[in-house]
């Protein structure tokens, strides 16, 4: 029995396997080195990075919900300069692809970030368009096709690096956003980011999160994520990285069948720090069991 091929080529971004870790849930990678053989990961989407350091929101920053959790971290991060000077050197020699998740409040923020990150060691940028556009009253870039496209266009102008655009699920028609960012040159689309949610403490009679609202992640949102991957995979020509609630290999396989060419593991890392490796092994087992020689064979099989 020969081992099935797990390598995927995402429009030029070559991953040794399709298992990546979702931004904000895996730090910069080394946080998990006690639990995971980092060299076996396909890619790591590092914590959302901004132009200047950000302190983030007050605590409580997380709340538990049925089969999920809310987070309102507020993009706490040391800023792109610190990332380049202090963190990138620590991670660039691992075998995983280093994908930097970038966030801004203006189109210019994104462009400047892309410009700064146009360096060796960074393999791709993941553009987080779920951020509020301060010039549009805080409406998230990712909720309107034109705004989403304007960000990607500005980033594209700064770099030839592989661009992944990460879509927000808080929209009526995810395909219109996907098509808009494809048109202006994104190489890959990743989805989904978190659903906007809230939880109230009925004793204190106030929202649990200091920020009141937060992003819902975890198994609870998987059906929404699968649906959106399924829709987007049919609407665009670029490859899709699927995420949202993936907690085991079966979940990951659902995403491949729905049309994802690679997947990201998010909240599940908190529940089982070793899960990314278990998922990788489980995907391989599934392929062997079903007689496939290549992971790419199962991508989109449930479409039709």
């Amino acid at each position: 029995m020969t081992k099935p091929n797990l390598a995927v080529d995402l429009n030029g971004l070559e991953l040794q396997n399709p298992v990546t870790t979702a931004s904000g849930t895996f730090g910069f990678g080394p946080e998990y080195k006690n639990y995971v053989d980092l060299n076996r990961l396909g890619g790591v989407m590092v914590k959302g990075t901004t132009l200047n350091p950000k302190l983030g929101n007050p605590t409580p920053r997380i709340a538990e919900t049925p089969a999920g959790m809310l987070n309102a971290i507020g993009l706490q991060n040391p800023g792109v300069d610190h990332f380049l000077a202090r963190i990138l050197p620590l991670i660039k020699d691992y075998d995983f692809k280093t994908i930097v998740n970038i966030s801004g409040n203006t189109v210019e923020d994104y462009a400047k970030l892309a410009n700064k990150l146009n360096v060796e060691g960074v393999d791709a940028l993941e553009i987080n368009i779920s951020c509020p556009n301060v010039k549009k009253g805080g409406l998230a870039f990712g909720t309107q096709p034109e705004m989403a496209a304007s960000v990607v266009e500005a980033v594209r102008a700064e770099t030839d690096m592989t661009l992944i655009t990460k879509l927000s699920p808080n929209v009526a028609d995810i395909t219109s956003i996907a098509k808009a960012v494809e048109e202006v040159g994104t190489d890959i689309i990743s989805l989904i980011n978190t659903l906007l949610g809230m939880k109230i403490d009925i004793n204190k009679q106030e929202p649990i999160l200091a920020n009141k609202m937060g992003g819902l992640s975890g198994p609870a949102i998987k059906p929404v994520a699968i649906r959106m991957v399924y829709q987007v995979a049919q609407a665009v020509g670029v490859p899709v990285i699927g995420m949202g609630g993936i907690s085991n290999a079966e979940d990951a396989i659902e995403f491949f069948l729905a049309g994802a060419s690679a997947i990201s593991v998010g909240t599940a890392n908190f529940i089982n720090p070793e899960i990314s490796m278990e998922i990788l092994d489980g995907i391989e087992e599934y392929l062997v069991e079903k007689g496939y020689e290549d992971i790419n064979e199962i991508v989109g099989l449930a479409i039709g």
Partner: protein, 266 residues
């Protein structure tokens, strides 16, 4: 080094209403564990069980490096601890640990004091044991709602420490708050360890500052990952920068911090 292990429960008993002591067979954890560290645990070894979904951080109350057993004491608060309390000897839990920066003992200190309130007494017990083993002069101040909640009370009673206990209902010792013990007679103390409700720790911090006593405190914040990745558990710690503070991760940069550096205001 922190690791993940599926471990067998050796014993579990309800030591007081809603308060449980669980002994777990976890040699891999015990081996590296230090006082003040904690484990991040899931009440079942079945990880597909998503209700509740997150792990729960619980301090190490005893670390038996020889037998490989670790002990935790916890109070039932919500669903996670409630489910934990239903487990029996032989059942399994899923542990990440040991995690965090524990307590330290400054070499030049001789008279040390422990101030523990409620569940905050739990992580302090290993410190007292260590101090006694080092032949230090130790004062243990503990306070709780009632006698049953004075954790490790019987242990302290047999140890060579100066023990003062308070209960809110007067069922044991002084009736009142543990912080009421903090008076000028204690001003010759070298070092202080504290853990308990935030209001209590604030009082202790103020008293320590006034009397110029250094020390350490252990904090609690809601935790996601327990690895330093998610940034959910941050606390405000004084640093020399423009704003005078920065967020530190309670899970891996704490849970123990220098008492004087903690900003209690969230």
């Amino acid at each position: 080094m922190s690791k993940r292990v599926i471990s067998n429960i050796i014993s579990q008993e309800e030591i007081s209403p809603k308060h449980f002591r669980m002994v777990i067979d976890a040699p891999e954890v015990a081996k590296d564990a230090q006082m003040g560290q904690f484990i991040h645990l899931k009440w079942t070894s079945e990880l597909n069980q998503q209700d509740p979904i997150l792990r729960r951080p619980i301090s190490l109350n005893e670390i038996d490096k020889k037998s490989g057993a670790i002990t935790i004491i916890y109070r039932v608060i919500g669903r996670g601890t409630q489910l934990l309390s239903t487990l029996k000897s032989g059942d399994q839990v899923d542990i990440m640990g040991p995690i965090g920066m524990g307590f330290s003992i400054p070499e030049d200190s001789n008279k040390l004091i422990i101030v523990g309130g409620g569940m905050g007494i739990a992580p302090l017990y290993p410190v007292v044991k260590e101090l006694v083993a080092l032949d230090k002069e130790v004062t243990v101040l503990i306070g709780a709602e009632n006698k049953g909640q004075l954790l490790n009370l019987e242990d302290y009673e047999t140890m060579n420490v100066e023990l003062k206990a308070s209960t809110v209902d007067g069922s044991y010792g002084y009736q009142g708050f543990v912080t009421d013990f903090l008076d000028d007679n204690l001003a010759d103390i070298d070092y202080i360890y504290t853990c308990g409700p935030e209001v209590m720790m604030e009082v202790v911090q103020r008293w320590a500052t006034e009397n110029d006593i250094k020390g350490e405190t252990s904090l609690e914040e809601r935790m996601g990952c327990g690895t330093g990745a998610c940034l959910s558990c941050v606390c405000k710690i004084k640093v020399r920068n423009e704003s005078g503070w920065d967020y530190k991760k309670t899970c891996i940069q704490g849970p123990v911090f220098p008492l004087s550096e903690v900003i209690f205001d969230d």
